[in-house]
């Protein structure tokens, strides 16, 4: 239809909407920001006032002390993801945003589970921990604390396995991610 450089006219019916689309999947946004006071407040405030939900959020330094990385996950079924990234880009302190393609991304999250486990249950919990390649990092008479690293699916699967023992508490960091291959995220 109407190639550039020709006089061929476009049939308007052929035009497709180019934005504002709900993708229906979860997106991991890797955001480089200037390491300045208030940057996280600006991002959190933007999400709050535009009605975007943050599913998880992780903030940390990068190899450059003047730049921090924020990794956040957003539900693309609830919000048009291009609108979220474009609004984020308007923040002057936001340097770069990458919407990581699931197939091209390695994502990890760390979770700590405090599980009620007396001496009888302990062996079984340790067995699950082994299967999930976790580590027991603390133990008391009636509880165990286990560290699990992995994708959110894996962490949720472990949670399902140990919940019947009695989950005292669970602490999760939120996902961090890098792009596969040599290029920088």
């Amino acid at each position: 239809m109407g190639e550039p450089g020709t006089k061929e006219v476009i049939d308007l019916q052929d035009l497709q909407v180019a934005g504002g689309i709900h993708t229906g999947r979860r997106h991991i946004l890797s955001i480089l920001v200037e390491n300045k006071p208030g940057v996280l407040a600006r991002i959190a405030g933007l999400f709050a006032r535009r009605g975007f939900n943050i599913q998880t959020l992780a903030v940390g330094p990068t190899d450059n002390p003047s730049i921090s990385r924020i990794t956040l996950t957003v539900d693309g079924a609830l919000h048009p993801i291009d609108q979220v990234t474009k609004q984020l880009h308007k923040l002057v302190n936001v340097i770069k945003i990458r919407d990581l393609e699931p197939a091209e991304t390695v994502a990890r999250e760390l979770a700590l589970f405090k599980i009620s486990a007396d001496s009888e249950a302990r062996a079984e919990v340790m067995q699950f921990t082994d299967i999930f390649r976790g580590k027991v990092i603390d133990v008391s008479k009636r509880s165990m604390t286990v560290e699990i690293t992995g994708t959110d699916d894996k962490i949720e699967a472990f949670e399902r396995m140990v919940r019947p023992f009695g989950l005292v508490e669970m602490v999760r960091t939120g996902e961090i991610a890098v792009a596969r291959g040599r290029s920088a995220t």
């Binding site: 476009i10 035009l15 909407v17 934005g19 208030g38 474009k86 880009h89 923040l91």
Partner: protein
Amino acid sequence: MRAVDAIMESLTAEGVDVVFGIPGGANLPTYDALYDAGVRHVLCRHEQGAGHAAEGYAKATGRVGVALATSGPGATNLVTPIADAIMDSVPTVFLTGQVRTELLGTDGFQEADTTGITMPIVKHSIMIQDPREIPQAIHDAFHIARTGRPGPVLVDIPQDLSRADIPYAPVEDVSLPGYRPTTEGNVKQIRLAAKALVGARRPVIYAGGGVVNADAAKELRELCASDRFPVTCTVMGLGAFPAPHEQWLGMLGMHGTRSANYAIDEADLICAIGARFDDRITGKLSEFAPRAKFIHIDVDPAEISKNVPAHIPIVGDAKRVLPKLTREYRALEADSSRLDGWWERIRGWQEKHPLGYADSEDSEIKPQYMCEALYEATGGDAVITSDVGQHQMWCAQYYHFSEPRQWINSGGLGTMGFGLPSALGAQVGRPDDTVVCLAGDGSLQMTSQELATAVCERIPVKVFIMNNGYLGMVRQWQELFWDRRYSGVDMGTTPDWVKLAEAYGAAGMRCDRKEDLVETMRAAIATDGPVVLDVRVTREENCYPMIPAGQAARDMVG
């Protein structure tokens, strides 16, 4: 030098010739530096007035408006102008004083978390933490305020840091790795847009305030002259296209013309330029322009597909994009006769539904007539500022703006009280033009203290009050949608505006007869210095036509 002297050097380097503000404890050092800095200071009577004056200056001239305030209440009083400036994309810089760094976070006297309070309503803000950052911060602030989509930038300066001794050298580079507005527009997309325009049988050009902000009225007119495209503007875009023109459909939206709204409703292609599909334009979003495809040209990518999904998005500055679009369109040598049928339909609406009102049969002044009289008395070329409400909409309808930056109003935030202080700023920025504030009697009472500023600073604005003794637009909605239960809208007959004007040292005049109105307005304009003209208009008159909120163009009433 002292950091505050560096601020003055920085302001001068940015081309600032006037600032609007009020001093206080935390910005005393700034005012000390201002004393002999060679920058004009306009002492306003409330920080809100200073903020709107800075906006009026910016809107009238295209230059960055600057307002100063102290910490705490001074800064919080700026919140409304800052919010106004973000909504209407007004290039402004706000310099606020802050308590000494040792007091920060202790609830010190006149402490407020200014950057925190204003975070959702600024384009950017900078809290100074090291006085040596100040020259760079000021330069960055001006750069951000005036480039890309313009907007308000706040710089908050703790009092002790503003007194520090720092080295000063002029700053030319910005240090903003995350800020690079796209201005040029993608060439392929522009070509696609040109082809779509050729393919359209029922196109409409819908221009907004972005065209005015980009100083692209000339470029818009050239695009429109490349064929017989029908043109409509938002309330913010008025003046970007000359109102008396055969391609002009009138204003779009809630109180726009039927021709403009019906044309949008039936269009097959809408070319939006520097406009953002606000709810006052679209009405019920799901029924907005149901047959149309959209070209959307805007410098802010986040506006594209925010409310209405675009088919051909073009991110860029209208001044840069429009000439390319015009060139591409002309090269395609479209057959203009394809628009004949469309124009026939539009002319039909224009004949059947012209903008109009029933004039009084006696001397009573209808508010619509007041706007026509204003046009006549000023020859149609005054700078008009307005407050918010019925008078604003009538003025938008009946003062046929033909030039950009001639119409200064609060469109996005809808700030009552905007008119008078913004007129002060506009007059300071354009001393040779006639500046009239068309005020509502309700709105004007929100910032009438700025009459003192007009008198003391010798700013000869003319304030024409459309006085119906009501909060008129609210009364209209109560009449139409709330069963005439007039709750909290009767303003009574106070104040006596003539006496109030005289109390401030301005000239006060009154008019309540139609046959005297044009002459009285002319006399007011010819009077030296500020004048308040109290015009008594019909008390209960409704602003029509109207798309009731949340309804579609087809549901227009009146």
